[in-house]
């Protein structure tokens, strides 16, 4: 038996898993309507490629990926597109998002499928493309596109590939039932992943509360060299970082990637989806979802089409809506409540939990913190939740950051353990959002300062110009007067002065927009250069294990922040001629800040430099799009020629940059 390690803290909530594994996976069937959100994961939403009224076949692409951290969407069944509009989706914020709605025809007609060639013969990049085109995104948690996680930076040495089969959240059995019923597919999918990553060892980590699943996996893995690792049940062992610590004993550096400790993690459900995509040619259009809780009469696991309304699925399990006090997507520890049972199942819906009030009671009012430290004992990240709570209450945001608030994985172990019922995680989420929001504000004010200064300069120039013109006029008048007097004092001098004044005037008026644009772009370019040098130094230092790492890291971070400010300033400047900035309402802004921060963190966490190049490329493309729009609008509005010229120049520059970035990325990928 392989040695496993323990991580700090953790809790043992009641498992409540047996209810939903009594029967095999059931097919949920085809609901009358499917609502496919365009964004079901972190990253850019997909772009619809069908229109209302189109007939679509099962497996047909209905929305294309936009950008690297994005995957396409496929029709989960055949039917016709009846709406492309904003609908309520399952998201912590409970907001609307663009969806494609399909009225199914019940025929479930497949698109002509292409069975891919033997994966052994495919190149790594081809396989990753295949996985991406099948729309596979992490099937637990944040739903990070699998292809991004698999695109490990060239030259990174991966020792261990870990398939995460822990499923540590209470109630959920989607992975458990997969192990019991589809162990072969898990192993096949794992083999494909192993082929792509080429690690030294390949492991599947499973908690010891799933003996049947473990036995099935062991039997299926016989002779494949894939090791099944069993370890004690403890929440949250399924957290990626915790799992890595359990299996390798190593900790992923704060803010770093698993690949830095030689590990790549993939979800068990993703392994099966990858098997289906690579071997059978099926895109990801359905998943296994556990439907459980005391408000359903027959808790069980379903094979359900993406886009199926939750209510439809709940009813298949005998939903008793009147008993249900809240509807949770995910587990009781990290899941979030959905506003309405009409929202669709998405790729990350591993569980629908419909508890009764007695099962998961409404939390009683919080009592005072008695500093018992139970929360600190439970924290898997070794934070001091009670101190953070204290600082969150008194809004000491700096102290919060010092206490590593941003390392909190929001697992909820602290809240679970707290005898005073303090909703600790809620405080941390709010504080994180506030900090991110403030940073954003700071950047904004920094950026408006830059703009203010630029404007001041422009005004000064205009004043100078006026002054010069006035002087020139005066001089001309004097000259004329003198001529009239008969005595031509010095006409040559006057002519020279006139010419000078004219030149000054030209400089002052025509060049002002262009020059500011140039200045801002210059700022971006130089900052970017500085960032590059700093990053190189940091990489060196990291490789040598130098003490300077943290200092350098700080430098890099600062430069990056500056770069962002500069870029934003530039971008906004380019938009200003016609577009007025749209102000969010404060609540929306806060919410948006949360989402933005979450998305940024998650995507940053998984990017290697070549991926960053890709992201950069996308940003540029977006900017190009915007600039082009602005240009078109200015033309329509018959704007000043100078403005149009400037805009054209910026479009041209962006196009150039994009092709440069493309070259760079291609170079990175081929390296």
């Amino acid at each position: 038996m392989r040695k496993t390690y323990d991580f700090h803290g953790g809790i043992h909530p009641p498992e409540n898993k047996h209810q939903s594994v009594r029967t095999p996976i059931a097919d949920a069937g085809i609901p009358p309507q499917l609502t496919v959100p365009l964004s079901q994961h972190i990253g850019a939403p997909a772009h619809p490629v069908v229109s209302i009224g189109d007939h679509v076949l099962k497996g047909q692409v209905i929305a294309e990926a936009r950008g690297f951290v994005s995957v396409p969407k496929h029709a989960p069944s055949s039917g016709s597109v009846i709406a492309i509009e904003d609908r309520l989706i399952a998201h912590p914020s409970g907001h609307l998002a663009p969806c494609i709605v399909i009225a199914t025809d019940g025929k479930d007609e497949w698109l002509q499928r292409q069975i891919p060639p033997d994966y052994q013969a495919l190149k790594k990049t081809e396989l990753i493309d295949l996985i991406r085109n099948a729309g596979i995104a992490g099937m637990g948690g944040a739903g990070f596109p699998s292809s991004v996680k698999l695109s490990v930076k060239e030259g990174t040495h991966i020792e261990t590939l870990i398939i995460n089969g822990t499923e540590c959240e209470p109630y959920i059995t989607a992975d458990d039932i997969l192990m019991r019923e589809r162990a072969d597919q898990i192993i096949e999918g794992t083999k494909i992943l192993r082929h792509i990553i080429a690690p030294q060892e390949t492991l599947i980590g499973v908690e010891n509360n799933k003996p049947e699943g473990l036995a099935a996996l062991r039997a299926a893995a016989e002779g494949t060299g894939i090791e099944i690792v069993e370890f004690p049940t403890k929440y949250p062992s399924g957290g990626e970082k915790q799992l890595i610590e359990i299996i390798t004993g190593k900790q992923v550096p704060s803010g770093g990637l698993p690949s830095q400790v030689g590990v790549v993690c993939q979800n068990l459900g993703s392994a099966v989806a990858i098997y289906e995509a690579v071997v059978l040619g099926h895109p990801l259009i359905s998943r296994i979802t556990t439907v459980t809780g005391e408000s359903v009469r027959e808790p069980q696991n379903f094979q359900v089409l993406i886009g199926t309304p939750m209510r439809y699925l709940l009813e298949k399990a005998g939903y008793e809506a009147q008993k249900n006090n809240r509807l949770i997507m995910g587990g009781p520890m990290m899941g979030f409540t959905v506003p309405d049972s009409d929202v669709p199942i998405v790729k990350t819906t591993n569980c629908l939990l419909a508890p009764t009030e007695s099962e998961l009671p409404t939390p009683p009012p919080a009592q005072a913190c008695i500093r018992c430290g139970l929360c600190a004992e439970a924290c898997p990240v070794s934070l001091l939740p009670q101190q953070m709570f204290w600082f969150a209450q008194s809004k000491e945001l700096e102290k919060l950051e010092e206490h590593n608030l941003f390392d909190c994985i929001e697992c909820g172990a602290c809240s679970y353990a707290c005898p005073s019922n303090i909703p600790l995680v809620q405080y941390y989420r709010a504080s994180k959002a506030e900090i991110v929001h403030l940073q954003h504000e700071h950047e904004k004010s920094e950026h408006s300062r830059i703009r203010f200064e630029a404007r001041q300069e422009r005004l000064d120039q205009a004043a100078d110009e006026k002054e010069a013109k006035r002087a020139a006029r005066k001089q001309a008048a004097e000259a004329r007067a003198q001529q009239a007097d008969g005595g031509a004092e010095d006409p040559i001098q006057a002519a020279i002065e006139r010419a000078q004044a004219k030149k000054a005037a030209q400089q002052a008026s025509g060049a002002s927009t262009v020059s500011e644009l140039e200045r801002l772009e210059q700022a971006v370019v130089t900052t970017r250069k500085r960032l590059d040098t700093a990053s190189t130094k940091l990489d060196q230092a990291t490789a040598e294990g130098s003490d300077l790492v943290s200092a350098l890291q700080l430098g890099v971070d600062k430069t990056r922040a500056k770069l962002e400010v500069a870029e934003q300033a530039l971008q906004e400047f380019q938009q200003t001629p016609t577009v007025a900035p749209v102000e969010d309402s404060p609540t929306n802004a806060a919410q948006a800040a949360i989402e933005k921060a979450m998305a940024a963190r998650a995507s940053e966490a998984a990017l290697s430099p070549s991926e960053k190049a890709q992201v950069q490329l996308e940003k540029l493309q977006q900017r190009l799009q915007k600039s082009q729009d602005t240009l078109a609008r200015s033309r329509e509005n018959g704007e000043d020629e100078k403005v149009i010229e400037a805009l054209e120049a910026s479009v041209a520059r962006l196009t150039e940059k994009i092709s440069a970035a493309q070259d760079q990325r291609n170079a990175g990928e081929n390296a």
Partner: protein
């Protein structure tokens, strides 16, 4: 039913602050029984009367602070304070002593700072020290244990409390007093000449300590607190006692066993040092916190001029707890580790 919208986690553990406090109350029972057995009903009367005063004081403070009285009384923290202070008071204490002590604990040491969770000092020990400084005579009047003198009955105990003038209790020096004042006797002789020394820590005292140890062990088993602070305190106290035992000479401070089983050692270790609010929080911090209290207890017992040292030692360390916390922050996952050069 309208669907609730609340954030995760949705599940909550079985522990509640109320349960923690109730467990602590329950765990003091063996100790109270033993004290009552050896010293008569004095302690019991203290505890009952003190509890009533505590509830009144707490309600008054909550009313003045415009807080919901019922909600806060339910956490039982006032009762815990009353139990702990009244166990520490000498049996047959007069009602006014108890009242002043409880009022100081609850009003000054706790509510004035903002109530449960905000008090920097252990309320029971703060009340105890205030009494000790203000009324040294009453506070050092310990009754003789069973077998060393007549034990007053229940009625007399009640009389002692409410009509202190009419109560004529006998008092007797505790073993700790005698030990501190000892100048010329070998340990062995000390034990022979003073029957109240009992076997190890004093008649009555040794059993009371064992009873509090048992209550504490039960709390540990219930995971109400961690072993770190109490064990560190007992360890450092024993270590010092062993170091300065001096072979039982007349300069000796007493054997480790004597220190462990005399005075308020076990009571302090499991019921005072473990007070979460006023102790250090991190586990490493609690080790340091407990160990330093052990050191202080030994020093004050042997060198100081007060009957027992637990209260002073704890209050001093209450001061230090925030600093200990500051310097013992645990290493967060993924921090301060040299990245592996690959």
């Amino acid at each position: 039913m309208a669907l609730l919208r609340i954030t995760s986690p949705h599940a909550h553990g079985p522990m509640s602050t109320q349960r923690v406090m109730q467990n602590v109350l329950l765990a003091t029972v063996p100790g109270i029984i033993v004290l009552t057995h050896f010293f008569g009903f004095g302690t019991l009367v203290n505890v009952l009367f003190g509890s009533i005063v505590a509830l009144l004081c707490e309600s008054l403070a909550l009313l003045l602070r415009k807080r919901p009285v019922g909600f806060y009384l339910k956490d039982c923290s006032a009762l815990v304070t009353a139990f702990l202070l009244c166990i520490a008071l000498p049996p047959y204490a007069p009602w006014w002593l108890i009242t002043i002590g409880i009022a100081s604990s609850i009003l000054l040491a706790k509510q004035l700072y903002g109530g449960l969770g905000y008090n920097p000092f252990n309320p029971a020990m703060a009340g105890y020290v205030i009494l000790l400084i203000s009324f040294p005579v009453q506070m050092t009047a310990w009754a003789p244990p069973r077998g060393m003198g007549e034990l007053p009955g229940l009625l007399e105990a009640i009389k002692a409390c409410f009509l202190p003038a009419s109560f004529d209790g006998i008092t007797m020096a505790t073993p700790l007093d005698i030990m501190r004042q000892n100048t010329g006797l070998l340990m062995e002789d000390l034990w022979q000449q003073n029957p109240q020394f009992g076997r190890w820590g004093g008649v009555g005292w040794e059993w009371a300590n064992i009873a509090f140890l048992a209550g504490g062990a039960w709390l540990l088993y219930q995971r109400i607190f961690t072993w770190h602070a109490p064990l560190a305190m007992l360890a450092s106290l024993s270590l010092l006692a062993a170091l300065f035992y001096d072979g039982g000479s007349s300069a000796s401070g007493g054997s480790p066993l004597f220190h462990l089983l005399s005075g308020a050692t076990m009571f302090g270790a499991f019921f005072i040092v473990t007070d979460p609010v006023t102790s250090a929080v991190s586990l490493r911090g609690r080790l340091i916190y407990g160990a330093l209290i052990g050191v202080l207890i030994y020093v004050i017992r042997v060198r100081g001029s007060y009957p027992d040292a637990v209260a002073f030692a704890v209050l001093i360390m209450n001061f230090a707890a925030p600093f200990i916390d500051y310097y013992t922050q645990p290493r967060t996952y993924g921090h301060n580790k040299k990245p592996e050069a690959k």
